[in-house]
Amino acid sequence: MNNDLVLRAATKWLSPVIILFALYVQFHGDYSPGGGFQAGVIFSSAILLYALTYGMQAALQLIPEWVLRLGASLGVLLYAGVGVVAMLKGGNFLNYSVLAEEPVAGQHIGIIIIELGVGLTVASVMVLLFFTFARRVAPE
């Protein structure tokens, strides 16, 4: 499959578009349907596509496993971190309103960072799952 020109060319064209779409879904999550979960899965599908056409080695060069582990942990920490910052600022856990001067601005900041954390974790975990399985039961 590695030598199929159509697949290779199509992947090169598609991957950036998928990633762009993922970022769109990610950052419009507070106004329109979308958010971290969906964006994370879409983002990971771009990496998966790349890994399927160019092989595991190339994909691992693109994103090494330790980056994914770090990303998965960092996302959770970002999520919990926002909650803790809200607590330090005198609100309850995950109360975004206290994050900025104005409650509405605080809600915006809060949800965007939270969704960023969610997106980071979901994308990393999905790719990590794929890599783990692919390595374990590699066809060749």
Binding site: F93, N95, V98
Partner: protein, 497 residues
């Protein structure tokens, strides 16, 4: 007390778990785990002292008012469960260090501890939340990490045990989710207090009854109530020792707690009394006691024996619940604590045997008790508590359970408790006999991997944890005020008296 402390119980493990997963060093991972469990334990004690006289602490997550937001409502029962979970977590993390190094590959140890903390997070979350969907999420967090922890057992049977637990546990959780969905369709709310308050307005719907059946079935599967216990013996006997200690003492207890919440807080008591549920639960509890004790008596492998004994002990908790009076419920809640301490101690003993002799097969362990007199003594203390000898924790629960049964005239329960205790003497004696009175066959020496001379001694952490457990068995058996007060307050708040 600052109410922000309550949420820290969930936030501390949430932050610590991903950090632990990043470390490669097993000692750092263990230190973080011990620190997290101890911090949670201290917090639980502070919260317990605050609510023991019947007060509530309410915490609104994200500042959203209930019923829209998730609300944590802490009363004596919540705090009691959180105390059990975090206390056992502390003891098992003291115990875990050498035991885990012995049983698990060095490279996976940090991940093991991360999963352990996630499990702690899930169990504490269940204990705190006042929102039924949130309860489902925490149930799944704890269960998923449990499956992973069990699969790390040494033998390949651990994998199949974890797999069948995964299938059954997920079916149970999904049943609970269906129940929550039905209740949500009827009431339009997920907040326990809100649903209970407006219960009359939708009580006539068929959906509400179906919802209760689904929820109770789902939780009963998770709590291993007879006849839904089939996953438990394999899962507990194949898991790594430290995991057996932690899970046997907490996982099923927390599910029983969820059962209390659904039956007493979500639904009015009269509603399910009309459905004949107390009679059903009472019969299942009695059968569980006799069947579990009998099967335990039949076993020849120590961890499996203890696991079947857990099935029997869960039966006592269900009986206490189904008797539906203050003494019964108090006994049931106290037994959550007492059994947690007893079973944790016994599983720690089994873990030490596994560490020293590389087997928990009673036949191969003959005479082993004479080689480790102190650990053996601690196990005997816990065994006596399991039987219910006066002066130990086990006696207290059986006493109140008997009192309650006589009060309500349920003679069948009295007979069951007597038979259960006789069988318990049988299976505890079986352990004592083969460990101490049989002549030693020295088979265990052959089973030890050659060149590993560290096995000659019990590691200090394991011994200390074992003796803390045994000490608690005696301390709370003689000094019942603390656990009794907490359990009584909890029982009264459940019965709305």
């Amino acid at each position: 007390m600052n109410e922000q402390l309550t949420i820290l119980l969930v936030v501390i493990p949430l932050i610590a778990a991903p950090i632990t997963a990043l470390f490669k060093n097993k000692d750092i991972a263990w230190a973080i785990t011990l620190l997290v469990s101890t911090a949670c334990f201290v917090l639980s004690v502070i919260i317990m002292l605050d609510v023991i006289d019947g007060k509530h602490v309410i915490y609104e997550l994200g500042g959203w008012r209930p019923p829209w937001g998730i609300e944590y409502k802490i009363d004596a029962l919540n705090a009691f469960i959180a105390l059990i979970v975090s206390g056992i977590a502390t003891i098992s993390s003291i115990y875990a260090k050498s035991s885990v190094e012995h049983e698990i590959d060095d490279s996976t140890i940090p991940l093991f501890y991360a999963a352990f903390q996630l499990c702690l997070l899930g169990l504490l979350g269940i204990a705190l939340t006042g929102d039924v969907f949130n309860l489902f999420v925490f149930l799944e967090i704890s269960s998923l990490s449990t499956y992973a922890l069990i699969s790390m057992g040494k033998h390949r049977k651990a994998l199949t045990a974890a797999f069948s637990y995964l299938i059954l546990g997920t079916v149970g959780a999904t049943f609970f989710l269906i129940g929550v969905g039905f209740l949500f369709a009827a009431s339009g709310s997920l907040n326990t207090a809100d649903i209970a308050q407006r219960f009359e307005t939708f009580a006539h719907m068929q959906l509400v009854e179906t919802a209760l059946i689904f929820m109770v079935l789902g939780i009963a599967l998770k709590a291993a109530v007879f006849p839904l216990h089939s996953w438990l013996p394999n899962a507990y006997s194949q898991a790594p020792s430290a995991v057996s200690v932690f899970l046997s003492a907490t996982a099923t207890k927390v599910s029983i707690y969820a059962l209390y919440r659904v039956l007493f807080d979500l639904y009015p008591v009269q509603y399910w009394v009309d459905m004949l549920m107390p009679q059903i639960l009472l019969s299942l509890g009695c059968v569980a006691v006799i069947y579990g004790s009998y099967r335990a008596w039949q076993q020849v492998e120590m961890k499996r024996l203890l696991a079947f004994s857990s099935v029997a002990q869960i039966g006592y908790m269900i009986i206490g619940l189904a008797l539906l009076n203050q003494n019964g419920l108090t006994a049931s809640i106290m037994h959550l604590f007492n059994h947690a301490v007893i079973k944790a101690t016994l599983f720690m003993g089994a873990g030490i045997l596994l560490y020293r002799a590389n087997t928990t097969d009673l036949g191969s362990l003959r005479g082993m008790g004479r080689d480790i007199p102190w650990s053996f003594a601690a196990m005997v203390i816990a065994g006596l508590s399991l039987i219910g000898v006066p002066g130990t924790v086990g006696f207290i629960t059986k006493w109140y359970l008997l009192e309650s049964a006589i009060e309500t005239g349920q003679w069948i329960v009295v007979v069951t408790i007597v038979i259960g205790s006789v069988l318990a003497i049988g299976y505890v004696w079986k352990i004592v006999e083969s460990l101490y009175f049989r002549s030693s066959r020295k088979v265990h020496i052959h089973a030890v991997e050659s060149g590993d001379d560290s096995v000659g001694k019990t590691p200090i952490g394991m011994a200390v944890a074992l003796w803390i457990g045994a000490g608690l068995c005696i301390f709370f058996g003689l000094n019942t005020d603390l656990s009794f007060d907490a359990a009584t307050t909890a029982a009264l708040s459940l019965l709305k008296q």
